[in-house]
């Protein structure tokens, strides 16, 4: 009796029922932590330790512990900051932009992707705060009168815009994510056996019961949050790019930066989502929810944004030549052929060439190939930020102050350490929170599967499967098609 649509491929395979969804997602929340999870967490905690030690060195001895010098006074810190913020963007893209575009496949990956956003922004925020050298004075970035007079913050500075952009982005993403989690916490609460778990998830669920009015408001709130988060996510990386674009350093002072950075952010973010999802789906046995189709779709987005980034690289080069500004021209020749040529060509290979492989269907649908590709892209995007930042700074207008940069062990420690911080948070999330949005997956369970007349009981006369309210005129279109 079940008819599978030839056009719409079901988003969830194996004909899962509502109860199966609950079971599959709650299983790892309710089970005891397994040995693989513990092992992964210990590795992550070790790197978190490396992070804490590096932070201690940075705070106790000052930022002289880093490899910065008078010429290259911005290097790994800002590279890592931009890299992490960029990774975060994919989560918002999936949860907000794909919601607006009604891409139903996002429902099985949005929860984990949003978690990734939040953790990535936490990691990103570490770098500017630590680079302050005296993070206990971090409140100076807020528009408060200074201690000795009535001087305010400078609202003309892109670094101050960053403060507003990143904090707004973080808090809005957190609220968006949490509001989505509330109904799922209610599901876990209602299944919980132990008193502690029941109380804990009751607290987290805010007393959600799933009444019709609450769902109606919930959907409204999700839609508005998505609508507002879409320009927000674009604004965040635009403002990040303005940290560079509003300066006069050759190689930074270009108007192409905002769109180029936003595309790069989505590109690297999708790579990170793929890396995480490919592991999560296997470890938690969620292959029916995060299918090969999802992976192929994400690969396509990666390929498109990667191509935009590639065009941006070439445009930059062209404009440098076309502008006839010799400093600008030198900055780009120096990137490709100067002492940091290896970084430039790593970036070109990883970001421009490798995503083009996704045109091949077999690679798009291959799990090992996608996994390798996603890691390569993340390496490439790290190099992109390094190339932009370090190669522009190390040789600018005055040849007498040209210098090279090499990271100190503390630089490396902080970077590797934020990876530890990120994975610690992600592993805790994956264990105690539902990694898939159960409520939303249940709402798309019938996508692509037409069950025919679902109700043929006595005394109805309602044999059609679509529902039409009494008040609506007979000619009105049926709005209750669950497939739209």
């Amino acid at each position: 009796m079940q008819h599978v649509s030839p056009v719409r491929i079901p988003l969830v395979t194996s004909g899962k029922t509502y109860h199966d969804v609950t079971e599959d997602v709650c299983r790892q929340v309710e089970a005891k932590p397994n040995i693989r999870w513990m092992a992964a967490l210990s590795v992550a905690l070790f790197f978190l330790g490396v992070f804490l030690y590096s932070v201690y060195r940075t705070l106790w001895y000052g930022i002289g512990e880093w490899g910065l010098n008078k010429t290259v006074d911005w290097a790994w810190d800002i590279t890592n900051f931009v890299w992490w913020v960029g990774i975060g963007h994919a989560g918002t893209l999936i949860s907000a932009v794909l919601l607006l575009f009604r891409q139903k496949w996002r429902t099985s990956i949005n929860r984990a992707a949003e978690a990734m956003t939040i953790f990535a922004v936490i990691c990103a925020a570490m770098f500017p705060v630590l680079h302050m050298g005296r993070p206990w004075l971090a409140f100076w970035v807020l528009p408060l009168q200074n201690t000795f007079g009535s001087l305010w913050a400078n609202f003309n500075s892109p670094l101050l815009w960053d403060v507003f952009a990143i904090s707004t982005y973080f808090s809005v993403s957190l609220v968006f994510w949490y509001t989505g989690l509330v109904p799922d916490f209610a599901t876990i609460r209602d299944r919980a056996k132990g008193p502690i778990a029941r109380r804990a998830y009751a607290l987290l669920s805010f007393g959600w019961k799933g009444g019709a009015k609450h769902w109606s408001r919930y959907e409204t709130v999700s839609l508005i949050l998505a609508g507002v988060s879409t320009p927000l996510v674009l604004s965040v990386h635009t403002i990040v790019s303005m940290d560079f674009a509003t300066s006069v350093v050759p190689g930074w002072h270009t108007t192409i930066f905002p769109p180029y950075f936003v595309a790069g952010a989505i590109f690297s973010g999708f790579a990170m989502v793929l890396t995480l999802m490919l592991i999560t789906r296997v470890v938690f046995k969620l292959e029916d929810y995060i299918t090969l189709e999802h992976i192929a779709l994400m690969n396509k987005i990666m390929m498109i944004t990667g191509s935009i980034v590639g065009v941006a690289y070439i445009t930059e080069f062209f404009i440098a030549w076309y502008s006839q500004v010799e400093f600008e021209q030198y900055a780009f020749i120096n990137r490709a052929t100067g002492p940091y040529w290896w970084a430039y060509w790593s970036m070109m290979t990883c970001n421009v060439i490798s995503p083009q492989l996704v045109w091949i269907r077999r690679i798009r649908y291959s799990i090992p190939a996608t996994f390798v590709l996603s890691i390569i892209v993340n390496i490439g995007m790290w190099f992109e930020r390094f190339v932009i930042i370090v190669t522009s700074l190390h040789r600018d207008y005055l040849p007498s102050s040209w210098a090279m940069f090499s990271p100190s062990i503390i630089d490396i420690g902080i970077y590797v350490g934020t990876l530890g911080l990120f994975f610690t948070l992600f592993l805790l999330f994956a264990k105690f929170f539902p990694v898939i949005n159960m409520a939303e997956v249940k709402s798309i369970l019938k996508y692509g599967v037409d069950n025919g007349p679902t109700y043929g009981g006595p005394n109805t006369g309602a044999q059609q499967s679509t529902y039409r309210p009494t008040g609506a005129p007979a000619s009105a279109p049926v709005n209750y098609n669950k497939h739209d």
């Binding site: 509502y18 400078n154 003309n156 815009w161 952009a165 009751a202 959600w208 249940k442 499967s465 669950k482």
Partner: protein, 174 residues
Amino acid sequence: MTKRYALGIFEDEDVLLHAIENVRAAGVKIYDVFSPYPVHGIDDALGIERSRLPIAAFFYGLCGLSFALWMQIYMLGFDWPMIIGGKPHISLPSFIPVAFELTVLFCCHGMVITFYTISGLYPRMKVPVMDVRSTDDKFVMAIELKEGTDMGNLTQLLRSNGASEVNEKEMTKE
């Protein structure tokens, strides 16, 4: 205060939507319908009006925008004017980013706080639910039982409209 409810348990959303319509047509007032996910069309079937949260969100955003512009113009234009990069004290183009971010900040948080407040959602230890399966895989239609309501008739009505079971539940009002 204790109230009694008749609970019609449904397995499918289409059946549920037809049932809601027929039950309402029979003159029975539905207290609420609990579902594991948002059922599209249930608002019209139950006669729930469209939420006005978007309007609230717009005004919260407007507050954020006004606050941000006032703050920047007051601080850099009047309270302590500074010449930065040779630009005028009140250089509106460079005030746009902060104005936009604060608009979004006020809009989102204002709307979400309003949502939780009007829906009565706040952290609490005990959550009395009508039927625990309503957050898993069942659709639960709750009808308040007043004095003298004939449970037999109600059961018959719900059954004939596709309810897989009909239960009675006593709830203590918080």
